[in-house]
Symmetry: C2
């Protein structure tokens, strides 16, 4: 008898729930709006009803491994709580995992959405041939996930892989996290639009100023269109994105020497505009490694591969489905601070 | 019957060989000069003779777990070769491990010296109460070692934990690795002296210029003396060291969320001069963690501890002794590049 999971991707706008079997086959997917404004209890009730309906319907598909839930925000592995989530303010410090486990009588795994996406890419996407990879999710912010030995690396507080907050510019743009010059301030969709406004304000980007006055969609996507159409100021912005990614990824190459780094999220679709600068800088910024795109590898060499994600917006959903299928990890003890001993 | 190892710390100037038992008790230590100029074969012969004499002498101390050798340079785990070492040029691409195993008929583990030091601190030093830590060794250069789940993390090419080459200043000082603005360019003994010369050359450090003309030892140690005596220019240099460390360590806190980061090597003894700036900046540079010195921890909280190493120059020797005592790690398969599949 095969095994399946139920996965939940709790986004700011959409709630997606799916039944996925252990081969990665999608059995069914439901999508509804996340009516966050109706409050936590309402959303949890809706979610549980939908999960329940999938559980009943797919009872014949095999054993239910559990329920994996990807949430936008920090999750505490030990307590199963959402610790901080700008999109789900009233979920903070509430025992979500326990509540859902109680309602459904099934094992629930709560995971940060960027970590879930990394696990999805590792299972069925760009990382399917490796057990070790880091993923950068370039969206409104920049999220990250690190997979080592086939497992997500959570760290002591379950808050590892905040790769968007590694520094790429010592005294750079202030970040919401309290620091300055974080990768997120140079490689997120938000940052791209900000950098375009900065360029216009500096008076050095008359072409962007024209575009902004015209009917071009002034978004990271619109700026990507301008870049591939040859607008130099827009190209320069994406070069900055590429350079920032190279400093961030280069640091991880030097620190972890993983075989693969995957770039996903909406901004990743502007790959053509930022990747050339990124690879050029990575050769300089990462210590003696042969960092290359997957189509430039030499047979038999241990290249570090930096590549685009393959699963699109489904990565998080599949990753959340995968989590309950994995047995206990080698490191199962909660990690303690030496100060607690 | 107890177990013991023989450890070798092959430095640029000293060759230290010790027999250490599984409780970390030093059974015997031999120190000789490393006569590198007499060539690889000579050094290996001397080393093997010394190891052999310890093996014979301590035969009664228990079972020999193996021989651990810490070398200054990159080592390839798969082949047991030194891949690059400025101090041991004729050792490159030579099967050192195989040669020594053949000569002595015993299991040999070859390890980078900074990794060995991290393992030494983890076993008997600052990290003895945790299974997860990163260590920064601030010497002529800046080395690093990462311990996760009690094991060194080697990465795909055995070249992980090059923490001295993480970027802390996007367009900073050129580094020997080919990049710019690496931590090593702001936190090594070499960098400290360079920054002092830069300050003098800029004309903004007349007190340092006076010191340089006088009989003060113009080294990182001498500059530390000036700093604690109240010389503002010397203090400013150590503040830059602290800030650079904060950006580097902050990145690792955000990426790995380890419970402990240990700072060792000769420059660590200037802790008083750089640590206040480092902690101040770490609060800003690391995402939402409560990063603190060990004497400021609150009971029961999962603090990230940043602390000074405890084992001094013996860390690498004890770490090398520990390696053969550890059984096979969870990840025993050599890590492959997805490009090789």
């Amino acid at each position: 008898m095969s095994v399946y999971s139920i996965a939940v991707d709790l986004g700011g706008t959409n709630l997606r729930i799916a039944a996925v079997d252990s081969d990665g086959k999608l059995l069914e997917k439901l999508t509804t709006g996340t009516e966050v404004q109706r409050g936590r209890d309402f959303v949890i009730r809706e979610m549980c009803d939908a999960i329940q309906s999938l559980m009943v319907k797919h009872r014949g598909s095999g054993d239910l491994a559990g329920i994996g839930i990807g949430v936008p925000g920090f999750t505490d592995m030990d307590t199963g709580m959402v610790m901080r989530s700008p999109n789900l303010p009233d979920w903070e410090n509430f025992p979500v995992r326990e509540e859902i486990e109680r309602k459904l009588g099934t094992k629930v795994i709560l995971e940060n959405d960027a970590n879930s996406a990394a696990m999805g890419e590792k299972w069925l996407g760009a990382g399917r041939h490796t057990d070790h990879m880091a993923m950068y999710t370039l969206g409104t912010g920049v999220g990250g996930g690190i997979v080592m030995n086939g497992r997500l690396w959570h760290g002591m507080n379950g808050m590892a892989a905040e790769l968007g907050h590694c520094n790429v510019e010592a005294e750079g743009h202030p970040c919401g996290c309290g620091s300055r010059g974080c990768l997120e301030q140079y490689a997120s969709a938000t940052a791209i639009v900000r950098m375009a406004h900065e360029a216009i304000d500096s008076g050095n980007a008359p072409d962007l100023a024209d575009a902004a006055r015209g009917d071009v969609e002034f978004s990271s996507r619109g700026l990507y269109q301008l870049a591939i159409q040859g607008h130099v100021s827009a190209q320069r912005i994406y070069q900055r994105v590429g350079r920032a990614l190279a400093i961030g990824i280069g640091g991880m190459v030097n620190a972890l020497n993983l075989p693969m780094y995957v770039i996903g999220g909406g901004v990743a679709s502007a790959w053509d505009a930022f990747a050339p600068t990124m690879f050029q800088e990575l050769k300089v910024r990462s210590f003696i490694y042969s960092v290359t795109a997957p189509d430039h590898v030499e047979q038999g060499k241990k290249h570090t591969v930096v590549t685009i994600a393959l699963m699109g917006s489904d990565a998080g959903l599949y990753g959340a489905a995968r989590l309950p299928m994995l047995g206990p990890a080698a490191q199962t003890e909660p990690m303690r601070s030496p100060a607690q001993l």
